[in-house]
Symmetry: C2
Subunit: 205 residues, 2 copies
DNA sequence: AATTCAATGTGACAAATGTCATTAATCGCC
DNA sequence: GGCGATTAATGACATTTGTCACATTGAATT
């Protein structure tokens, strides 16, 4: 029987190498390519359709292109390759966005490597594989923030002043304060810093 | 020739499993035990001296006991086992503390897995192995913060108000503001948030 | 006992932030 | 054209934060 053909995308080289090695040890799996970011993986899959990639296994937070963007693009292009997300973060916002992009599997780096192998097989056979931790709590509410609020919060998180944020977003300082205020209000935070923390934890930034 | 005997400490199970597998594939290496945090590794090494562990390979940020604490303890107890740190973060503060605890190797998870294997052998032979990225920039200045400043900053980072921080540290609000102000001043930050970010990036929190 | 020193606290003021009501401009839509 | 919805801006005011000069306290040193 043909092996399951896999592309990896993961920016931690150590983990990328290690995963490639252990997956290749399985005799029903074959790692066709290892990529350091989503862009590389997307290019490879789209420009080499003859490679018939079954599974794209990807981290989320990576430079250049995140795993969520990768999944979104593949979905748009109606690629036959199925995406499995492998990430550190159990953030409900991430899971939701992944689901919206037709992702078939979502695992945490906390789980044992055997789970990953099981998930790959399961997804290849047409199933789904979602880490149980995620089903439990965090399917809940969806991102309440507007685009502007999100952008302002992202900058505020690093300690930028209202003025600086306003300059960067081409808005007036007052408007920025309004956005940050309403964001904090939506998130039940006492100030912009707490708001940024909450949004970040939920994968909304 | 006897294999190099290794204990692993890493809280990401996926990476822990994967590392154990690829290191065991090398015929001069042997992974004796895999631990999910520093405490487990410390216990194992100290209570089983007959195991003659050559290398303790550990992550830094882990629950229960960090890799830096583990290294410190082993150093205190004059253990013969040599410690290699494997971490995501190239923070000068971490490297400095590691060195102070007699650590022999400090690698980044960004490097290829072969580097790790090389480093293990090199350290076992009595050498050192420090990721080149670290030698370059960040050996520089040392932590300028006082204990109080550090504590206050740590709380401010999550968005706590001056009042709340004061309550938690059993100080007056004014004192807390003084500490945060002087911390921001030392770090050339414009406010507490930026100060916290800088301190965090340098491994001083 | 007098002196030094560090840690903590206070008060006063400036600057930044949070909150809210209101207005203006723009766009889609009937 | 008129209507509601969205987006941006403004002004006013309260609260929080940043800065600094200056007590107060207590422990350590002389």
């Amino acid at each position: 029987m043909a092996k399951i053909r896999i592309v990896l995308a993961e920016d931690q080289t150590m983990l990328l190498n290690a995963l490639a090695t252990i997956l290749d040890l399985e005799d029903n799996l074959e790692v066709v390519k290892s990529c350091a970011n989503g862009k590389q993986a997307l290019d490879f899959v789209l420009t080499n359709p003859e490679q018939k990639i079954d599974i794209v296994l990807t981290d989320i937070e990576m430079p250049d292109m995140t795993g969520l963007e990768l999944a979104h693009e593949l979905h748009q292009q109606k690629s036959a390759s199925k995406v499995i997300i492998l990430t550190t973060f159990s953030r409900s916002g991430y899971l939701r966005r992944a689901m919206d992009s037709g992702v078939k599997g979502y695992l945490l780096k906390d789980s044992p490597s055997q789970d990953l192998i099981d998930a790959i097989v399961k997804v290849h056979q047409g199933g789904r594989a979602i880490a149980p931790e995620l089903m439990v709590d965090s399917w809940m509410e969806k991102d309440p923030l507007s685009e502007k609020e999100r952008h302002a919060l992202r900058l505020a998180k690093d300690g930028m002043s209202t003025e600086d944020i306003a300059a960067k977003l081409f808005l007036s300082a007052g408007t920025v304060r309004n956005y940050l205020s309403s964001a904090a209000n939506k998130l039940n935070a006492k100030n912009r810093v707490e708001a940024a923390r909450i949004a970040h934890q939920n994968g909304w930034l």
